[in-house]
Structures are given as C-alpha cells and as structure tokens.
C-alpha cells in the first residue's frame, strides 16, 4: 500500500499517544459530534432512509457479484468515448502508470512537472504523492483540508475531513509558515477566521489551477453503461482540476462501479447526507471520455485492484467493498474519537479502516493484525453505515483469521490457551464450581492493582469489583432447595 504508514506501531500503542493529547481529543470530539448531530438530522428528514440504505446495499452487492462484466463494459465505453483505460494490479503498478502518463505530457528541467490533485482516497491508498515526489514531480492537493495536511507535512486522519485533528489556530499557523514554500504565500496578518483561511487558500490555489497541465483525480462512482465518472465535492476545487488541465488521469478502485445512471439516484442521496449532512452536495462533476473544445484533451482511467479481488473472494469480508467512503462510521465511533485517525495506520481510518485495511494489505504486520481488535463492538458504525456494512461481523471474522494465522506461527499462545481453558471449565460444571468457590474464598487476597498481564491493563485505571461472600449459585442452593 503506501510508504508513509509503513513501520507504524500496533493500534493500541499508536492510540495511547492520542488518548493523552488533550488538544487532539478536544478537536476530534468537537468535530465528530458536530457532524454526527447534523447527519442524524439530515437522515431523519427522509422517510425512506432504511429503504434507500437497503437499495444501496443491494446495488453494490449485485455489482460486486458481476464485477468482471461491468468492468469490461466500462472499459469499452470509456475507450469508445476517447479515453484510455489502464489496469493496475497493485500500488506500484498504479504509481508507475501515473508517473509515465505525466512524463508523456512533456515538461523539462526549466518547467518541471506539476500536477493538481482532486481529493482522492485511492491515490492516498497507493501513496501516489510520495511516489511522484521521489520522481521529481510536484503534486498539489487542492481540497482545502488535504492542502492543510500537505502543507503541514502531516498525514490525513479522516476520510472526509483529513485535517479534522487540527483546529483553526493550528491551521492559520501552517498557512503562515508553509504556503510560501509551495507557491503564493499567505496574506499578511492572516487571522484564524474561516473566511480569512478560505480566502488565503483560494488565492494560493488559483495559481495552481491556471498553470497545471495535468490533473489527477479519483472518482466516487463510475457508470458502466456510459463509461462516465462522477466526483462529489463541496468546494468546487475538484471541478477546476477536472475541467481546466489538458490531461486528466483518474485512479479509481475497481469496486467504485455502478451499472446504470438510475443506480446513481440512490447513492446521490445516501452519500451527501451520510458524509456532510447535506441534502445534496454542492458540486457534482461527471465526465465521459474526451470532447473537442471542452475539458481535458486526454483522459486516462487507471483501474486499481490493490487487494480488492482478494477481498472479493472472502464471503464475509467482501461487504467492505460496498463502502462509499462517506465516513459516517468514523463520526459515530467512540474508539476513533479517542484514538484519532493516525493510529489506524492507513488512508482508511476508523471502523471501515479496521476492516478494509487488513483485507487489502493482509494481516502480516503487527499493525494490520491489531486493527480487527480496535473496536468495542458497540455497533454504532453498522447503524450509521448507509450501505449497511455489518462492520462488527467483519471485525469478528477478521479476529478469527488473525487468531488462526497466529496459531500457524505460534503466536497468541496465552490467549488461545486462556479461551480453551475457559471453555473447558465452563463445560465441566464441577470444575467451574470449584473455580468459583476458590475465587470467592480468595476474595480478600485479590489486590486492587494487579501488576502483570490482563489484570494490569484492567486495574491501571479501574478498580476490580469486590467479590461477594457468596455466589448466586450458593444463594440459590440455600434458598430454593
């Protein structure tokens, strides 16, 4: 996947820092609760929300079941309309294809290659910006929040609001210090009011839009029947990128397809309400191939697999591919709220990241193996998901997979033994009763703080309950027999 997240520690370790950063937690709590409340109101406006949700789920499932057919149809239609389709098996291949396409547009040492970017999860997933930088190509993010993250040498921490972990003052400081290095500097005396910050970004970005010859985008949807790509956004910066430059390169995950225009109707209602709590997103841009005298002269579509076919092969896990990247699950997740987006170690944080990343990347690394446990299984994510992905079900499925793979390498030994021992005791009532009686007899000996293992993790911040003198079973015997 991407280079930038490699070598990150497992989730519990990465989350620890976030839980102790009061400013970060305050920023996250304020932002997620605001979006959460607004979203709940936007959803409640529709009487048929549950019906729409089920329709979205059904369309995605049908599409995934016949993905090969729809992809071939899409390829034929894009080609027919004057575009070129490229297939990328993994991140390296996709990055190589994009780099070659950019180089083919010309440029020289005097006029180095520059590209403007539409906010795209797929290009973050493959680490495109870092790859292009290593190849001497500057990629400028034009989404306001992505710009903040890029200028701050930071990583995105939210799907929809990548700079959610920053407050206005922090953003003003980043603009003041860094904008000049990348292009037009921030205006003198920049304040931290939203209007001022937006104006600074507008002026900074305008230069980039007018100069860039190449734009790189992703897409929210691809319509198979006509080969049309669709981007939904709030700021209009994406539309500038999609219409002004001569060459447009779109990197899109193969699961982003919908069969027909009619299917879009469902998602154009589900996505804005779930993500930005809007009835309709302000900008919806659609493009089909190339057109004489209108829009980009070259259009390239890079269809990205990068672990998606292996995810599709998993009957339980494949529902993660329904995801429309709305981030509703992040905004309701109590774990995300405390741990922050960076702890998830990939472009996809929060509950969806906890099930998508270990499937796309596999669970070989310590970080990826820890993600399925990064949930209290409270179920708020499933409730919020507009395409009804049963995230808790997939988490449990992946926990089993992690446990099974660990067994092959001799890992998780203590835990496995403990679970087996518990089952043994629980299926042998005499053993169970003896253990219970022993615990009650030793109740005075149980320390308030246990110095090791699971007991330590529990008693560092919490008292254990004091065991009573008598179990329920003993009381029942005395009173009911």
């Amino acid at each position: 996947m991407t280079g930038v997240y490699v070598g990150m520690p497992a989730f519990p370790t990465a989350a620890r820092a976030a839980t102790r950063n009061a400013q970060l937690r305050a920023n996250l709590t304020r932002a997620t609760h605001t979006i959460r409340d607004r979203r709940a109101r936007a959803v409640a406006e529709l009487e048929d929300w549950e019906g729409l949700r089920q329709a979205g789920k059904a369309i995605k499932d049908e599409t995934l079941a016949h993905l090969d057919d729809y992809l071939l149809q899409l390829e034929a239609k894009v080609t027919e309309a004057g575009g070129t389709v490229h297939w990328a098996r993994d991140a390296d291949e996709a990055n190589r294809i994009v780099t070659e396409l950019i180089r083919a547009t010309g440029g020289s040492d005097d006029q180095p290659h520059e590209v403007v970017k539409v906010k795209s999860m797929a290009t973050q997933e493959i680490g495109l910006n870092e790859h292009l930088a290593a190849e001497g190509i500057s990629a400028y993010e034009t989404d306001l929040a992505e710009l903040i993250v890029q200028l701050g040498d930071d990583l995105p921490s939210h799907i929809l609001v990548p700079a959610i972990h920053k407050n206005r003052t922090e953003i003003r400081d980043i603009f003041r210090e860094r904008m000049g290095e990348w292009g037009r500097p921030a205006p003198e005396g920049l304040t931290d009011t939203p209007a001022d910050l937006a104006e600074a970004a507008r002026l900074h970005l305008r230069e980039k839009f007018l100069r860039a010859k190449v734009a790189v985008s992703g897409a929210n949807f691809m319509v198979a029947e006509t080969g049309t790509l669709v981007v939904l956004e709030s700021e209009g910066n994406g539309r500038m990128c999609l219409t002004l430059p001569e060459t447009l390169i779109s990197v899109v995950g193969i699961e982003k397809i919908v069969p027909t225009w009619r299917d879009l109707e469902v998602f154009l209602q589900l996505l804005p309400r779930s993500s930005t709590a809007e009835r309709m997103n302000p900008y919806t841009t659609m493009w089909t191939g190339t057109h004489e005298g209108d829009g980009p002269k070259q259009f390239h579509l890079v269809l990205l697999d990068n672990g998606r076919t292996q995810t599709l092969a998993d009957e339980v896990g494949r529902q993660a591919l329904r995801c429309i990247r709305c981030s509703a699950c992040l905004n309701v997740c109590p774990v995300y709220e405390r741990a922050g987006g960076h702890a998830y170690g990939s472009a996809y944080p929060g509950p969806i990241g906890a099930i998508l990343t270990p499937q796309l990347r596999g669970t070989a690394s310590e970080l990826d193996a820890s993600l399925p446990y990064a949930s209290s299984l409270c179920g708020a994510c499933f409730e919020a998901c507009p395409v009804a992905i049963d995230i808790p079900e997939v988490l449990l499925h992946l926990r089993e997979r992690v446990g099974r793979e660990a067994k092959e390498h001799g890992g998780h030994r203590l835990e496995r033994a403990a679970m087996k021992a518990a089952t043994y005791a629980m299926t042998h009532p005499a053993v169970y009763r003896a253990a219970e009686n022993a615990a009650v007899r030793a109740r005075k000996l149980i320390p308030k703080k246990v110095p090791f293992g699971a007991g330590k993790a529990w008693t560092e911040t919490r008292d254990l309950p004091e065991l009573p003198e008598q179990t329920f079973r003993q009381w029942w015997k005395e009173t009911h027999r």
Binding site: P12, P334, R399, G403, M419, T423, E436, A457, P465
Partner: protein
Amino acid sequence: MRIALFVTCVNDLAYPGTGIAAVRLLERLGVEVAFPEAQTCCGQMQYNTGYPSAAVPLAEKFGKDFAGFDAVVVPSGSCGAFIRDVHPKLVEGAVPPVYELTEYLIDVLGVEQVGAYFPHKVAYHPTCHSSRLLKVGDRPTRLLRAVEGLELVELPGAAECCGFGGTFSVKNPDVSAAMGADKVTHAVESGAEYLVAADNSCLMHIGGTARRSGAPIKTIHLAEILAATRETVNA
C-alpha cells in the same frame, strides 16, 4: 409456563445480587422461576475475541441445560443478544425463546408497574448490546418511570459506548479507559446518585472507573431497582 433464569457467569460470581433481585422480582410477580444448576456461560467472550470454535461447546451446553423450558430470562442485554443472535449460527436445534429481563416483564408479563420503590435520582445507560442488538428500546425507562420515588434524569451522551467491550478493555486499555472516564463524567454531570444499566459487565467497567477516580456516582443493575420495595429500602 416454566421459565428458567440464565444468571450469566459474571453475575453468578461477581454480582449475585442481580440474580437474587431478578428471582425476587419475578417471584413477586407470580412467576415460578427455575435455575438449572448445570448452567455456566454463553461463550460470548470466546466468540468476540475471535475463537468461535471455543464457543460452540458452550452453545451446545446451553441448549441442553435449558431444554424443556418455555422461556429463558437473562438479566443481561449482552448475553441475551449473543444467545439469540449467535447461538443459532453455531449449533442446530431449537432452544426456548430467550428474553432479556425487561423484555420478559413488558412483552410477556405485560407489566410496567412492578411495585418497586426506590427513592433516588437515577440515570439510565442504554448499553450497546441492549439497545443495538436486542433493541430493547424504551422498555427499561418505562419500567424505571413507574418506580415509586424514583427520579429519572437524562444522561448526556447516553447512546455512546462505555468502552468495556469484553476483551477490548484489556487489548486496548488506553482507549477503553478514556471512554470509561468520559462515561463517568457524563454520569456525574447528570446529577444522578445511581447510574443504572441492564448489563453488569458494562457497570463493572464504569463503576470500577468511578471508584478509582473517586467520582460521586454509584452503579446498580436495573433488576435491583425493580426488586427494591419499601420493606427492602427501609430494612
């Protein structure tokens, strides 16, 4: 009607008062309660930690222990949901219908006013599995509102998870503790003397957090409030 109590392993060992309250409450309402003594645990911990095969023998055992009863009553939303939703995926064979205590009171017995007396300010925490898996809805609060002397106050951020999550609390201790601390803060903000819920595992986490930090809030299982009467309160 022959009903059986599944007390749950956590309640049996650590919170016998909840099981005792459930029995006294049901008997007061004229229900004859049986306690199949072979019962142990539903297997949720194994299943949710990623060891579904270790939960199978327990699901089988549950089916055997409770065969022949008309209904099983469980004073735990989490265990109730697990038995109802997951056991059928693990083992075949019919099990009696399983009801969380408040479901049994309202849906089967048809009572909201159970004759309880509890003169305290109380906030209700709808535990995740009670509300999202079992969908008990407003049953617990309807029962609480009918309790004489009880003042039900609103809990800020009530729908948010307390951070227990079974083995989550030891696998991700920092996040779990942060969630628990916020829940305690909200409980204190509510002005209640007691935080009440229908799951002792969540209350163990919240109560343990409150005790460690010295927060002025006590935790109590819903069954114990519903079982309380003028006699027990004054005793």
